[in-house]
Protein backbone atom coordinates (compact mmCIF):
# COMPACT_ATOMS: atom_id res chain seq x y z
CA UNK A 1 0.00 0.00 0.00
CA UNK A 2 1.58 3.17 -1.18
CA UNK A 3 0.40 5.33 1.67
CA UNK A 4 2.37 3.40 4.24
CA UNK A 5 5.57 3.77 2.28
CA UNK A 6 5.93 7.50 2.54
CA UNK A 7 8.74 8.77 4.79
CA UNK A 8 7.49 10.24 8.08
CA UNK A 9 8.35 13.80 7.16
CA UNK A 10 6.33 13.44 3.98
CA UNK A 11 3.44 11.94 5.89
CA UNK A 12 3.34 14.84 8.33
CA UNK A 13 3.58 17.32 5.48
CA UNK A 14 0.63 15.65 3.76
CA UNK A 15 -1.33 15.60 6.97
CA UNK A 16 -0.70 19.30 7.50
CA UNK A 17 -1.90 20.17 4.03
CA UNK A 18 -4.89 17.86 4.22
CA UNK A 19 -5.99 19.36 7.50
CA UNK A 20 -5.39 22.81 6.14
CA UNK A 21 -7.76 22.02 3.28
CA UNK A 22 -10.33 20.77 5.75
CA UNK A 23 -9.96 23.96 7.72
CA UNK A 24 -10.53 25.99 4.58
CA UNK A 25 -13.65 23.93 3.92
CA UNK A 26 -14.85 25.05 7.32
CA UNK A 27 -14.04 28.62 6.50
CA UNK A 28 -16.24 28.21 3.47
CA UNK A 29 -18.98 26.72 5.62
CA UNK A 30 -18.85 29.55 8.09
CA UNK A 31 -18.65 32.48 5.73
CA UNK A 32 -21.57 34.62 4.71
CA UNK A 33 -19.89 36.66 2.07
CA UNK A 34 -19.62 34.99 -1.31
CA UNK A 35 -16.21 36.50 -1.99
CA UNK A 36 -14.83 34.97 1.22
CA UNK A 37 -16.34 31.68 0.21
CA UNK A 38 -14.68 31.88 -3.16
CA UNK A 39 -11.28 32.92 -1.87
CA UNK A 40 -11.30 30.04 0.59
CA UNK A 41 -12.09 27.70 -2.28
CA UNK A 42 -9.25 29.09 -4.35
CA UNK A 43 -6.84 28.74 -1.43
CA UNK A 44 -8.02 25.18 -0.89
CA UNK A 45 -7.42 24.33 -4.53
CA UNK A 46 -3.92 25.75 -4.34
CA UNK A 47 -3.24 23.75 -1.20
CA UNK A 48 -4.43 20.57 -2.88
CA UNK A 49 -2.23 21.33 -5.88
CA UNK A 50 0.73 21.69 -3.52
CA UNK A 51 -0.23 18.39 -1.95
CA UNK A 52 -0.33 16.77 -5.37
CA UNK A 53 3.14 18.06 -6.17
CA UNK A 54 4.43 16.85 -2.80
CA UNK A 55 3.00 13.39 -3.40
CA UNK A 56 4.59 13.36 -6.80
CA UNK A 57 7.93 14.31 -5.31
CA UNK A 58 7.97 11.84 -2.47
CA UNK A 59 6.29 9.00 -4.31
CA UNK A 60 8.20 9.32 -7.57
CA UNK A 61 5.21 10.04 -9.75
CA UNK A 62 6.50 12.68 -12.17
CA UNK A 63 3.16 13.00 -13.92
CA UNK A 64 1.70 14.40 -10.74
CA UNK A 65 3.70 17.60 -11.18
CA UNK A 66 1.78 18.14 -14.37
CA UNK A 67 -1.51 17.41 -12.62
CA UNK A 68 -0.53 19.76 -9.80
CA UNK A 69 0.21 22.57 -12.22
CA UNK A 70 -3.05 22.03 -14.04
CA UNK A 71 -4.97 21.87 -10.78
CA UNK A 72 -3.44 25.12 -9.60
CA UNK A 73 -4.23 26.69 -12.94
CA UNK A 74 -7.73 25.41 -13.48
CA UNK A 75 -9.15 24.85 -10.04
CA UNK A 76 -7.13 27.59 -8.44
CA UNK A 77 -7.29 30.38 -10.98
CA UNK A 78 -9.69 29.77 -13.84
CA UNK A 79 -12.62 28.44 -11.84
CA UNK A 80 -12.53 31.20 -9.23
CA UNK A 81 -12.18 33.77 -11.97
CA UNK A 82 -15.23 32.36 -13.78
CA UNK A 83 -17.23 32.38 -10.60
CA UNK A 84 -16.06 35.88 -9.77
CA UNK A 85 -17.43 37.01 -13.09
CA UNK A 86 -20.74 35.40 -12.27
CA UNK A 87 -20.78 37.10 -8.87
CA UNK A 88 -20.01 40.44 -10.45
CA UNK A 89 -22.74 40.04 -13.01
CA UNK A 90 -25.29 38.94 -10.46
CA UNK A 91 -24.48 41.74 -8.02
CA UNK A 92 -25.07 39.37 -5.17
CA UNK A 93 -22.81 39.86 -2.19
CA UNK A 94 -23.78 37.51 0.48
CA UNK A 95 -25.83 34.63 1.60
CA UNK A 96 -29.13 35.86 2.93
CA UNK A 97 -31.30 32.82 2.80
CA UNK A 98 -29.48 30.08 4.53
CA UNK A 99 -31.43 27.61 6.61
CA UNK A 100 -28.87 27.37 9.38
CA UNK A 101 -26.69 30.17 10.62
CA UNK A 102 -23.01 29.72 9.83
CA UNK A 103 -22.10 29.01 13.43
CA UNK A 104 -24.63 26.21 13.73
CA UNK A 105 -23.42 24.75 10.46
CA UNK A 106 -19.87 24.90 11.84
CA UNK A 107 -20.90 22.82 14.82
CA UNK A 108 -22.75 20.33 12.62
CA UNK A 109 -19.69 20.24 10.39
CA UNK A 110 -17.58 19.32 13.38
CA UNK A 111 -19.98 16.47 14.15
CA UNK A 112 -19.69 15.30 10.54
CA UNK A 113 -15.90 15.32 10.78
CA UNK A 114 -16.14 13.14 13.85
CA UNK A 115 -18.44 10.74 11.99
CA UNK A 116 -16.06 10.58 9.04
CA UNK A 117 -13.22 9.97 11.44
CA UNK A 118 -15.02 7.06 13.07
CA UNK A 119 -15.80 5.47 9.69
CA UNK A 120 -12.25 5.92 8.41
CA UNK A 121 -10.59 4.60 11.51
CA UNK A 122 -12.84 1.56 11.35
CA UNK A 123 -11.85 1.02 7.73
CA UNK A 124 -8.23 1.61 8.62
CA UNK A 125 -8.34 -0.92 11.39
CA UNK A 126 -9.74 -3.63 9.13
CA UNK A 127 -7.05 -2.88 6.58
CA UNK A 128 -4.25 -2.73 9.16
CA UNK A 129 -3.44 0.81 8.20
CA UNK A 130 -3.85 2.55 11.51
CA UNK A 131 -1.65 5.48 12.16
CA UNK A 132 -0.73 6.04 8.57
CA UNK A 133 -1.62 8.99 6.47
CA UNK A 134 -4.18 6.86 4.59
CA UNK A 135 -6.63 7.07 7.47
CA UNK A 136 -6.20 10.83 7.55
CA UNK A 137 -6.74 11.01 3.80
CA UNK A 138 -9.92 8.97 4.11
CA UNK A 139 -11.14 11.13 6.98
CA UNK A 140 -10.52 14.36 5.15
CA UNK A 141 -12.04 13.04 1.94
CA UNK A 142 -15.19 11.80 3.63
CA UNK A 143 -15.57 14.89 5.79
CA UNK A 144 -15.15 17.24 2.85
CA UNK A 145 -17.82 15.25 1.06
CA UNK A 146 -20.14 15.52 4.02
CA UNK A 147 -19.41 19.21 4.44
CA UNK A 148 -20.09 19.72 0.74
CA UNK A 149 -23.47 18.06 1.09
CA UNK A 150 -24.15 20.16 4.18
CA UNK A 151 -23.39 23.29 2.19
CA UNK A 152 -25.75 22.18 -0.57
CA UNK A 153 -28.49 21.46 1.90
CA UNK A 154 -28.16 24.54 4.05
CA UNK A 155 -27.37 27.32 1.63
CA UNK A 156 -29.76 28.94 -0.72
CA UNK A 157 -27.72 31.05 -3.09
CA UNK A 158 -27.13 29.54 -6.49
CA UNK A 159 -23.44 30.32 -6.24
CA UNK A 160 -23.10 28.64 -2.88
CA UNK A 161 -24.55 25.51 -4.39
CA UNK A 162 -22.05 25.62 -7.25
CA UNK A 163 -19.24 25.99 -4.74
CA UNK A 164 -20.69 23.17 -2.65
CA UNK A 165 -20.44 20.82 -5.63
CA UNK A 166 -16.90 22.01 -6.29
CA UNK A 167 -15.99 21.26 -2.68
CA UNK A 168 -17.34 17.74 -3.19
CA UNK A 169 -15.05 17.31 -6.15
CA UNK A 170 -12.13 18.85 -4.29
CA UNK A 171 -12.57 16.35 -1.50
CA UNK A 172 -12.45 13.41 -3.88
CA UNK A 173 -9.42 14.84 -5.61
CA UNK A 174 -7.59 15.33 -2.32
CA UNK A 175 -8.29 11.78 -1.21
CA UNK A 176 -7.33 10.32 -4.54
CA UNK A 177 -3.98 12.13 -4.52
CA UNK A 178 -2.93 10.50 -1.29
CA UNK A 179 -4.64 7.15 -1.64
CA UNK A 180 -4.27 6.41 -5.34
CA UNK A 181 -1.56 8.66 -6.75
CA UNK A 182 -0.98 6.20 -9.52
CA UNK A 183 -4.39 6.70 -11.10
CA UNK A 184 -4.03 6.96 -14.87
CA UNK A 185 -3.17 10.39 -16.09
CA UNK A 186 -5.93 10.46 -18.65
CA UNK A 187 -8.55 10.00 -15.99
CA UNK A 188 -7.25 12.81 -13.84
CA UNK A 189 -7.01 15.16 -16.78
CA UNK A 190 -10.49 14.44 -17.98
CA UNK A 191 -11.97 14.90 -14.54
CA UNK A 192 -10.21 18.24 -14.33
CA UNK A 193 -11.62 19.45 -17.59
CA UNK A 194 -14.97 18.04 -16.67
CA UNK A 195 -15.00 20.39 -13.72
CA UNK A 196 -14.41 23.30 -16.02
CA UNK A 197 -17.32 22.28 -18.17
CA UNK A 198 -19.51 21.93 -15.11
CA UNK A 199 -18.78 25.46 -14.02
CA UNK A 200 -19.39 26.76 -17.51
CA UNK A 201 -22.77 25.04 -17.55
CA UNK A 202 -23.59 26.44 -14.17
CA UNK A 203 -22.62 29.88 -15.36
CA UNK A 204 -25.00 29.69 -18.26
CA UNK A 205 -27.77 28.34 -16.07
CA UNK A 206 -27.29 31.08 -13.53
CA UNK A 207 -27.58 33.63 -16.28
CA UNK A 208 -30.84 32.02 -17.34
CA UNK A 209 -31.98 31.97 -13.73
CA UNK A 210 -31.50 35.68 -13.41
CA UNK A 211 -33.06 36.51 -16.74
CA UNK A 212 -36.10 34.32 -16.56
CA UNK A 213 -36.72 33.59 -12.93
CA UNK A 214 -35.42 36.87 -11.58
CA UNK A 215 -33.85 35.40 -8.48
CA UNK A 216 -30.57 33.84 -7.62
CA UNK A 217 -31.40 31.89 -4.54
CA UNK A 218 -32.73 28.41 -4.85
CA UNK A 219 -35.26 28.96 -2.07
CA UNK A 220 -37.39 30.82 -4.55
CA UNK A 221 -37.47 27.84 -6.89
CA UNK A 222 -40.57 26.31 -5.41
CA UNK A 223 -43.01 26.19 -8.26
CA UNK A 224 -42.60 22.54 -9.15
CA UNK A 225 -44.02 20.43 -6.39
CA UNK A 226 -45.77 17.08 -6.19
Amino acid sequence: MIATQFPPLAASLFSLMAIGSLLLAFVMLGSRWLKDYLLAFAAQSWLIALLSAAVGYYGNFPELYFIAALTALFRGVVLPWLILRIIARLKVDRELHERLSPSSSLVIGAALVLFAFVVSSHLGRTLHLEGSVAVLALTVMLSMKLIGFLMLAVRGEALSQILGILVLENGIFLGSQILVPGMPLLLELVILFDLLVIVACFGVLVRYLVTHAGVTHARALRRLVG
Binding site: L23, S103, A110, L114, F117, V135, T139
Partner: protein
Protein backbone atom coordinates in the same frame (compact mmCIF):
# COMPACT_ATOMS: atom_id res chain seq x y z
CA UNK B 1 12.37 25.70 51.31
CA UNK B 2 13.55 27.37 48.19
CA UNK B 3 10.70 25.82 46.28
CA UNK B 4 8.19 27.20 48.75
CA UNK B 5 9.74 30.61 48.23
CA UNK B 6 9.47 30.17 44.49
CA UNK B 7 5.84 29.19 44.85
CA UNK B 8 5.14 32.35 46.83
CA UNK B 9 7.12 34.31 44.25
CA UNK B 10 4.86 32.88 41.51
CA UNK B 11 1.75 34.07 43.26
CA UNK B 12 3.36 37.43 43.95
CA UNK B 13 4.35 37.80 40.30
CA UNK B 14 0.81 37.28 39.21
CA UNK B 15 -0.51 39.57 41.93
CA UNK B 16 1.77 42.49 41.22
CA UNK B 17 2.35 42.27 37.49
CA UNK B 18 -1.29 41.76 36.49
CA UNK B 19 -2.20 45.46 36.54
CA UNK B 20 0.89 46.23 34.49
CA UNK B 21 -0.27 43.87 31.75
CA UNK B 22 -3.67 45.49 31.71
CA UNK B 23 -2.07 48.90 31.55
CA UNK B 24 0.14 47.92 28.64
CA UNK B 25 -2.74 46.52 26.63
CA UNK B 26 -4.94 49.57 27.18
CA UNK B 27 -2.09 51.95 26.45
CA UNK B 28 -1.14 50.23 23.20
CA UNK B 29 -4.72 50.15 22.11
CA UNK B 30 -5.04 53.86 22.64
CA UNK B 31 -1.78 54.55 20.87
CA UNK B 32 -2.80 52.46 17.88
CA UNK B 33 -5.88 54.63 17.63
CA UNK B 34 -3.64 57.72 17.79
CA UNK B 35 -4.73 58.82 21.26
CA UNK B 36 -2.52 59.72 24.17
CA UNK B 37 -3.33 56.81 26.41
CA UNK B 38 -3.43 56.86 30.22
CA UNK B 39 0.06 55.47 30.79
CA UNK B 40 0.97 51.90 31.58
CA UNK B 41 0.83 52.32 35.35
CA UNK B 42 -2.69 53.66 35.43
CA UNK B 43 -4.30 50.46 36.80
CA UNK B 44 -2.02 50.73 39.86
CA UNK B 45 -3.22 54.23 40.45
CA UNK B 46 -6.82 53.12 39.98
CA UNK B 47 -6.45 50.33 42.51
CA UNK B 48 -4.78 52.65 44.99
CA UNK B 49 -7.59 55.16 44.60
CA UNK B 50 -10.29 52.55 45.01
CA UNK B 51 -8.75 51.15 48.17
CA UNK B 52 -8.96 54.61 49.70
CA UNK B 53 -12.57 55.24 48.74
CA UNK B 54 -15.66 54.83 50.85
CA UNK B 55 -17.57 51.56 50.69
CA UNK B 56 -21.27 52.03 49.80
CA UNK B 57 -23.37 48.91 50.26
CA UNK B 58 -26.90 48.54 48.83
CA UNK B 59 -29.61 47.89 51.36
CA UNK B 60 -30.72 44.72 49.63
CA UNK B 61 -27.28 43.15 49.68
CA UNK B 62 -26.81 39.87 51.52
CA UNK B 63 -23.72 37.96 52.60
CA UNK B 64 -23.14 36.97 48.99
CA UNK B 65 -22.36 40.59 48.22
CA UNK B 66 -19.56 40.54 50.77
CA UNK B 67 -18.01 37.18 50.09
CA UNK B 68 -18.13 37.23 46.27
CA UNK B 69 -15.18 39.57 45.74
CA UNK B 70 -13.19 37.72 48.37
CA UNK B 71 -13.91 34.33 46.81
CA UNK B 72 -13.09 35.62 43.33
CA UNK B 73 -9.83 37.12 44.53
CA UNK B 74 -8.88 33.99 46.41
CA UNK B 75 -9.60 31.78 43.44
CA UNK B 76 -7.32 33.70 41.15
CA UNK B 77 -4.69 33.68 43.85
CA UNK B 78 -4.84 29.89 43.94
CA UNK B 79 -4.44 29.19 40.26
CA UNK B 80 -0.84 30.40 39.85
CA UNK B 81 0.15 27.62 42.25
CA UNK B 82 -0.93 25.05 39.71
CA UNK B 83 0.54 26.36 36.49
CA UNK B 84 4.10 26.97 35.32
CA UNK B 85 4.68 30.67 35.86
CA UNK B 86 8.35 30.93 36.70
CA UNK B 87 9.72 27.41 36.73
CA UNK B 88 9.18 24.54 34.40
CA UNK B 89 9.20 21.91 37.12
CA UNK B 90 6.34 21.37 39.56
CA UNK B 91 6.56 23.29 42.82
CA UNK B 92 5.01 22.24 46.14
CA UNK B 93 1.22 22.02 46.07
CA UNK B 94 1.11 22.30 42.31
CA UNK B 95 -0.49 18.89 42.12
CA UNK B 96 -3.47 20.27 43.97
CA UNK B 97 -5.19 20.44 40.64
CA UNK B 98 -4.41 19.77 37.02
CA UNK B 99 -5.37 21.76 33.96
CA UNK B 100 -9.04 21.00 34.32
CA UNK B 101 -8.93 21.83 38.01
CA UNK B 102 -7.39 25.19 37.27
CA UNK B 103 -10.11 25.93 34.78
CA UNK B 104 -12.78 24.95 37.27
CA UNK B 105 -11.34 27.22 39.96
CA UNK B 106 -11.41 30.16 37.58
CA UNK B 107 -15.00 29.37 36.74
CA UNK B 108 -15.85 29.28 40.43
CA UNK B 109 -14.65 32.81 40.81
CA UNK B 110 -16.69 33.96 37.86
CA UNK B 111 -19.72 32.13 39.19
CA UNK B 112 -19.53 33.94 42.54
CA UNK B 113 -19.41 37.31 40.79
CA UNK B 114 -22.44 36.31 38.74
CA UNK B 115 -24.30 35.50 41.94
CA UNK B 116 -23.25 38.82 43.36
CA UNK B 117 -24.65 40.59 40.35
CA UNK B 118 -28.02 39.00 41.03
CA UNK B 119 -27.77 39.50 44.72
CA UNK B 120 -28.57 43.16 45.09
CA UNK B 121 -31.68 42.88 42.96
CA UNK B 122 -30.85 45.70 40.56
CA UNK B 123 -31.82 45.46 36.94
CA UNK B 124 -28.33 46.00 35.62
CA UNK B 125 -26.97 43.26 37.78
CA UNK B 126 -29.53 40.89 36.35
CA UNK B 127 -28.67 41.87 32.80
CA UNK B 128 -24.99 41.45 33.41
CA UNK B 129 -25.35 38.12 35.11
CA UNK B 130 -27.61 36.63 32.47
CA UNK B 131 -25.38 37.77 29.63
CA UNK B 132 -22.32 36.54 31.42
CA UNK B 133 -23.91 33.16 31.94
CA UNK B 134 -24.82 32.98 28.26
CA UNK B 135 -21.25 33.65 27.30
CA UNK B 136 -20.11 31.08 29.81
CA UNK B 137 -22.46 28.49 28.31
CA UNK B 138 -20.93 29.13 24.94
CA UNK B 139 -17.35 29.39 26.10
CA UNK B 140 -17.02 26.77 28.81
CA UNK B 141 -17.52 23.66 26.62
CA UNK B 142 -14.99 25.03 24.22
CA UNK B 143 -12.57 25.71 27.02
CA UNK B 144 -12.97 22.19 28.32
CA UNK B 145 -12.54 20.77 24.82
CA UNK B 146 -9.34 22.76 24.45
CA UNK B 147 -8.12 21.36 27.74
CA UNK B 148 -9.06 17.88 26.59
CA UNK B 149 -7.10 18.52 23.43
CA UNK B 150 -4.09 19.60 25.40
CA UNK B 151 -4.41 16.55 27.58
CA UNK B 152 -4.65 14.21 24.60
CA UNK B 153 -1.64 15.92 23.06
CA UNK B 154 0.56 15.09 26.00
CA UNK B 155 -1.29 12.09 27.37
CA UNK B 156 -1.18 13.76 30.77
CA UNK B 157 -3.25 16.30 32.60
CA UNK B 158 -0.51 18.34 34.20
CA UNK B 159 0.53 21.49 32.38
CA UNK B 160 4.17 20.85 33.19
CA UNK B 161 4.20 17.66 31.15
CA UNK B 162 2.77 19.51 28.17
CA UNK B 163 5.39 22.18 28.56
CA UNK B 164 8.22 19.66 28.60
CA UNK B 165 6.89 17.79 25.61
CA UNK B 166 6.50 20.86 23.47
CA UNK B 167 10.01 22.03 24.29
CA UNK B 168 11.53 18.64 23.64
CA UNK B 169 9.74 17.66 20.44
CA UNK B 170 9.55 20.21 17.61
CA UNK B 171 7.51 17.81 15.50
CA UNK B 172 4.84 17.92 18.15
CA UNK B 173 5.08 21.69 18.36
CA UNK B 174 4.40 22.09 14.65
CA UNK B 175 1.83 19.31 14.41
CA UNK B 176 -1.65 20.33 13.27
CA UNK B 177 -3.12 19.30 16.62
CA UNK B 178 -1.00 21.80 18.51
CA UNK B 179 -1.49 24.62 16.02
CA UNK B 180 -5.23 24.20 16.07
CA UNK B 181 -5.19 24.23 19.86
CA UNK B 182 -3.25 27.47 19.82
CA UNK B 183 -5.77 29.02 17.47
CA UNK B 184 -8.73 27.79 19.51
CA UNK B 185 -7.21 29.05 22.74
CA UNK B 186 -6.43 32.41 21.19
CA UNK B 187 -10.07 32.94 20.32
CA UNK B 188 -11.05 31.87 23.84
CA UNK B 189 -8.46 34.24 25.24
CA UNK B 190 -10.05 37.10 23.37
CA UNK B 191 -13.45 36.18 24.70
CA UNK B 192 -12.50 35.55 28.32
CA UNK B 193 -10.38 38.66 28.68
CA UNK B 194 -13.10 40.83 27.28
CA UNK B 195 -11.53 41.92 24.08
CA UNK B 196 -13.44 42.69 20.93
CA UNK B 197 -15.40 41.28 19.22
CA UNK B 198 -17.13 40.55 22.51
CA UNK B 199 -16.03 43.51 24.52
CA UNK B 200 -17.87 43.00 27.73
CA UNK B 201 -16.07 45.52 29.97
CA UNK B 202 -17.79 48.52 28.60
CA UNK B 203 -20.08 51.02 30.23
CA UNK B 204 -22.55 51.22 27.41
CA UNK B 205 -25.75 49.71 28.68
CA UNK B 206 -26.57 47.91 25.50
CA UNK B 207 -23.41 45.94 25.57
CA UNK B 208 -22.19 45.77 29.09
CA UNK B 209 -21.70 42.39 30.63
CA UNK B 210 -18.86 42.63 33.07
CA UNK B 211 -19.48 46.16 34.20
CA UNK B 212 -23.11 45.38 34.83
CA UNK B 213 -22.29 42.59 37.20
CA UNK B 214 -20.06 44.74 39.37
CA UNK B 215 -22.06 47.92 39.06
CA UNK B 216 -23.19 47.86 42.67
CA UNK B 217 -19.68 47.61 44.06
CA UNK B 218 -17.51 50.46 45.26
CA UNK B 219 -14.40 51.12 47.22
CA UNK B 220 -12.14 48.26 48.33
CA UNK B 221 -14.52 45.53 47.19
CA UNK B 222 -14.53 47.01 43.72
CA UNK B 223 -10.76 47.16 43.84
CA UNK B 224 -10.65 43.47 44.72
CA UNK B 225 -12.98 42.61 41.86
CA UNK B 226 -11.06 44.62 39.32
CA UNK B 227 -7.79 43.20 40.52
CA UNK B 228 -9.22 39.69 40.30
CA UNK B 229 -10.23 40.38 36.70
CA UNK B 230 -6.76 41.59 35.82
CA UNK B 231 -5.19 38.59 37.48
CA UNK B 232 -7.50 36.24 35.59
CA UNK B 233 -6.31 37.84 32.38
CA UNK B 234 -2.71 37.42 33.48
CA UNK B 235 -3.29 33.77 34.31
CA UNK B 236 -4.92 33.02 30.97
CA UNK B 237 -2.02 34.67 29.20
CA UNK B 238 0.35 32.58 31.30
CA UNK B 239 -1.37 29.37 30.36
CA UNK B 240 -1.40 30.42 26.74
CA UNK B 241 2.26 31.29 26.62
CA UNK B 242 3.95 28.97 29.04
CA UNK B 243 1.96 25.88 28.25
CA UNK B 244 1.06 26.24 24.59
CA UNK B 245 2.62 28.92 22.51
CA UNK B 246 6.05 29.83 23.84
CA UNK B 247 7.02 27.20 26.40
CA UNK B 248 10.63 28.31 26.54
CA UNK B 249 12.23 30.76 28.91
CA UNK B 250 11.25 29.20 32.23
CA UNK B 251 13.65 28.70 35.04
CA UNK B 252 15.04 25.19 35.12
CA UNK B 253 17.19 25.28 38.20
CA UNK B 254 15.09 27.48 40.41
CA UNK B 255 17.71 30.00 41.45
CA UNK B 256 16.69 33.50 42.39
CA UNK B 257 18.34 34.97 39.35
CA UNK B 258 16.65 32.39 37.20
CA UNK B 259 13.28 33.22 38.68
CA UNK B 260 13.82 36.90 38.09
CA UNK B 261 14.88 36.25 34.52
CA UNK B 262 11.86 34.01 34.07
CA UNK B 263 9.58 36.79 35.25
CA UNK B 264 11.13 39.21 32.79
CA UNK B 265 10.90 36.66 30.00
CA UNK B 266 7.30 36.01 30.93
CA UNK B 267 6.46 39.64 30.56
CA UNK B 268 8.27 39.80 27.25
CA UNK B 269 6.19 36.90 25.95
CA UNK B 270 3.10 38.69 27.16
CA UNK B 271 4.05 41.77 25.23
CA UNK B 272 4.23 39.67 22.10
CA UNK B 273 0.79 38.18 22.69
CA UNK B 274 -0.60 41.55 23.75
CA UNK B 275 0.58 43.02 20.46
CA UNK B 276 -1.27 40.31 18.58
CA UNK B 277 -4.38 40.88 20.67
CA UNK B 278 -4.26 44.63 20.09
CA UNK B 279 -3.90 44.12 16.35
CA UNK B 280 -6.83 41.70 16.22
CA UNK B 281 -8.96 43.95 18.35
CA UNK B 282 -8.27 47.04 16.30
CA UNK B 283 -9.16 45.27 13.09
CA UNK B 284 -12.59 44.25 14.26
CA UNK B 285 -15.77 45.85 15.43
CA UNK B 286 -18.13 44.58 18.04
CA UNK B 287 -20.42 41.75 17.11
CA UNK B 288 -24.13 41.90 17.67
CA UNK B 289 -25.24 39.98 20.68
CA UNK B 290 -26.87 37.12 18.84
CA UNK B 291 -23.70 36.59 16.87
CA UNK B 292 -21.50 35.95 19.89
CA UNK B 293 -21.81 32.27 19.10
CA UNK B 294 -19.85 32.65 15.89
CA UNK B 295 -16.31 33.09 17.13
CA UNK B 296 -17.02 30.57 19.84
CA UNK B 297 -18.34 28.07 17.31
CA UNK B 298 -15.17 28.58 15.31
CA UNK B 299 -13.12 27.97 18.42
CA UNK B 300 -15.14 24.85 19.20
CA UNK B 301 -14.56 23.63 15.71
CA UNK B 302 -10.84 24.20 15.93
CA UNK B 303 -10.71 22.28 19.19
CA UNK B 304 -12.57 19.36 17.60
CA UNK B 305 -10.24 19.43 14.62
CA UNK B 306 -7.28 19.44 16.97
CA UNK B 307 -8.56 16.35 18.74
CA UNK B 308 -9.19 14.57 15.46
CA UNK B 309 -5.80 15.56 14.14
CA UNK B 310 -4.23 14.31 17.30
CA UNK B 311 -5.83 10.89 16.96
CA UNK B 312 -4.51 10.64 13.43
CA UNK B 313 -0.97 11.52 14.37
Amino acid sequence: MRDVGLQIAQVATVLFLAPLLQGVIVQWQERVQRAQGPGIFQPYRDLWKLFHKQLVVPETASFVYWIAPIVAFTCVLNVPILIPVLTNYPLPQSDMGDILGGGLILTLGSFMVTLAGLDSGSAYGGIGSSRAVLLAILAEPTLILVFVGITLLAKAMLPFVVNHLLVADPALYWSPAHLFLVAAFFILLLVETDRLPIHSSTHLEVYMIEEARILEYSGPLLALLKWAGMMKQFILYTIFCNVLLLPWGLSVQGTALGALAAAVALFAKFLFVAAAVVVVETMQSRLRYYRYQEPLAASFLLAVLAIVADQLR
